[in-house]
């Protein structure tokens, strides 16, 4: 039937036009992601299985040998250090920011000023915070050691003692992240409907019971969210390490990103650096998938 077929033609034509329009709107993103994310990701995978020359050109297929080699060169220790570092930052970070958020949610006069002060580290960049903490950590005239001596303890070589260096670096990251996490949790607390607390109060619940039975369970999605995002952020830490310890003392703070940075830009071994990058990718992938499962639900089924 001629009419039906023209109709079909015009329908395909319309579909093609709609498709082209959609692609046109998306083209900047598609081009940028292809050039700066998808292509480099594939390239990283390729480089990780090749031996590379000093200019980063792959010259010989090595398969899994590169992966075996990074572990022989101590990448396993880097992974352990990175996980320890993540634990050291994330656990106290979540606990402290929860306490701060609860405090910031009190309805008192002038609470806005406290909220601003609690979130003030957001305004200080990672590199600036590291420089400030380097001064606070200084072994002789530094404030931290002064405070320790004030309470009768001995000063610590914060950045040069292998026992303390990782924790000292973690403290900087922790301090910087507190601002974001507190704001996050605060908005979570504020979004809990007032009536729930009100009716619990009428039922005779005290503040502790209300915190454990209402606030904490209602906050669990936000807590989960900040735990995963801060873990991922901790796994990617670089600035404080580069500024405060340069991976030292004796490799005590050689986290994954620092290790791959040295491998690529000091040893010029792009192949080995890429193998390290791919391992980091796999770890972050697993963590993000955990987050994504909930994320997807809210995107597609809300």
């Amino acid at each position: 039937m001629p009419i039906a077929s023209t109709r079909r033609v015009s329908r395909t034509r319309r579909e093609v036009l709609h498709f082209l329009q959609g692609i046109a709107y998306l083209s900047p993103v598609i081009v940028l992601f292809t050039v700066f994310i998808f292509y480099p990701l594939v390239r990283s995978i390729v480089l990780s299985t090749f031996k590379t020359d000093l200019l980063g050109r792959p010259y010989q297929f090595a398969g899994a040998a590169q992966y075996r080699q990074i572990f022989k060169q101590g990448f396993g220790e880097s992974l352990v250090i990175t996980l320890k570092y993540a634990l050291m930052t994330v656990v106290p970070e979540v606990a402290l920011s929860l306490a701060l958020a609860v405090m910031a949610s009190w309805s008192l006069r002038g609470i806005r000023l406290f909220r601003l002060l609690f979130s003030s580290p957001i305004g200080i960049a990672v590199a600036s915070s590291s420089v400030i903490f380097k001064m606070l950590y200084s072994p002789n005239a530094g404030v931290f050691n002064y405070l320790l001596r004030l309470v009768g303890a001995d000063g610590i070589n914060w950045l040069t003692d292998p026992k303390w260096a990782l924790m000292s670096v973690a403290i900087v990251t922790l301090w910087r992240q507190l601002g974001y996490d507190t704001l996050h949790l605060l908005s979570g607390i504020q979004s809990i409907p007032h009536e729930i607390h009100e009716s619990a109060r009428l039922d005779g619940a005290g503040p502790w019971a209300m915190f454990w039975k209402i606030t904490l369970p209602m906050l669990s999605p936000v807590l989960m969210f900040i735990t995963i995002t801060s873990t991922i952020a901790a796994l990617q830490s670089f600035g404080p390490i580069n500024i405060l310890t340069e991976g030292g003392p004796a490799g005590a703070t050689r986290v994954v990103v620092y290790s791959l940075y040295r491998e690529a830009f000091f040893n010029y071994n792009f192949g080995l650096a890429s193998a390290q990058a791919i391992v980091l990718f796999l770890i972050v992938l697993v963590l993000t998938l955990l987050q994504f499962r909930r994320f997807e639900r809210s995107v597609f089924y809300q």
Binding site: E15, P28, P40, G56, F114, Q291, R294
Partner: protein
């Protein structure tokens, strides 16, 4: 009970203020100490026990910092890069979010999923190939090299799409009857309605980019392009520079972000709420 109800309430309030004050002092202390140290003389920074305030601020620390390094130039570079990335992302994210919300075409949902999936790729994983690419393009030590790789971002698209979804599609039909095309509808209706979300994205992006360290460390090598975070680290590595001038540099570097934080505080909180509740 020996205490009356009001006395108990007063005590409770006082305790709360005390707790808040202790916490606020602990958190803001590093920032406060950076500011006062920038007003010490060089010998004062080495005093023991350390000084915690000064009655005679020594402003020459700032002059010394500026003499050691072109701090204003570094701040300008950081500012330009942050603004460039922010504006670029607002444009690319608005266009993409519009397509994902208002346009209907084959493969749309697949593309949305592919774009969201880039959030799973830590930026450091693509660092080496990106560095090689920027090198090949001749973009080392240029603003393009600092800005272009960051012009698109999945989070921005997601955030704006969430907001665009709240705009009724009837509005688009009405607009198209009035002869307003998609670009017109986006520019005249959607963007103005989505101002809060755009504000959130802008504040977050500005702070993130100003904070960047590894990428500018790798691809800048002259003062004319070096960003302030890299410049500060250099100031600090120079043993002959005393803490007072280093801190003067730090303080100058955080003035722009502090201003953005204070002006954009509301936007930032709104955006976090969106992320927290939806995430």
């Amino acid at each position: 009970m020996s205490l009356t109800w009001t006395a108990k309430k007063r005590l409770n309030t006082a305790l709360r203020y005390a707790l808040l004050t202790v916490a606020a002092v602990a958190i803001a202390f590093p920032i406060y100490y950076a500011v006062v140290t920038s007003l010490f003389t060089a010998p004062e920074t080495l005093m023991y026990p350390p000084k915690f305030f000064t009655t005679r601020p020594y402003w020459a620390s700032y002059k010394e910092a500026l003499r050691r390094a072109p701090v204003f130039l570094f701040i300008r570079n950081s500012f330009l890069v942050s603004v460039g990335v922010t504006v670029g992302q607002l444009i690319t994210s608005s266009l993409a979010a519009y397509a994902f919300t208002f346009l209907r075409f084959r493969g749309r949902d697949t593309l949305f999923f592919v774009i969201l999936s880039t959030m799973m790729i830590p930026w450091e994983v693509t660092l080496v190939p990106n560095y090689m690419l920027i090198n090949k393009l001749g973009w080392v030590d240029t603003f393009q090299g600092l800005i272009v790789p960051f012009l698109a971002d999945a989070f921005g698209i997601f955030l704006l799409r969430q907001w665009f979804l709240t705009i009724p599609t009837d509005l688009r039909d009405a607009a198209s009857i009035d002869g307003c095309g998609d670009l017109g509808f986006l520019g005249r209706v959607v963007i103005p309605l989505a101002r809060p979300a755009l504000g959130t994205l802008a504040v977050r992006r500005f702070l993130t980019v100003y904070n960047q360290y590894l990428w500018p460390l790798l691809i800048t090598n002259s003062n004319t392009r070096r960003t302030v975070q890299i410049g500060l680290a250099m100031l600090q590595w120079d043993e002959s520079v005393a803490w007072n001038s280093t801190m003067a540099g730090v303080v100058m570097a955080f003035i722009p972000t502090t201003i953005v934080l204070i002006i954009g505080y509301r936007q930032l909180v709104q955006g976090l709420t969106a992320g927290a509740i939806k995430g």
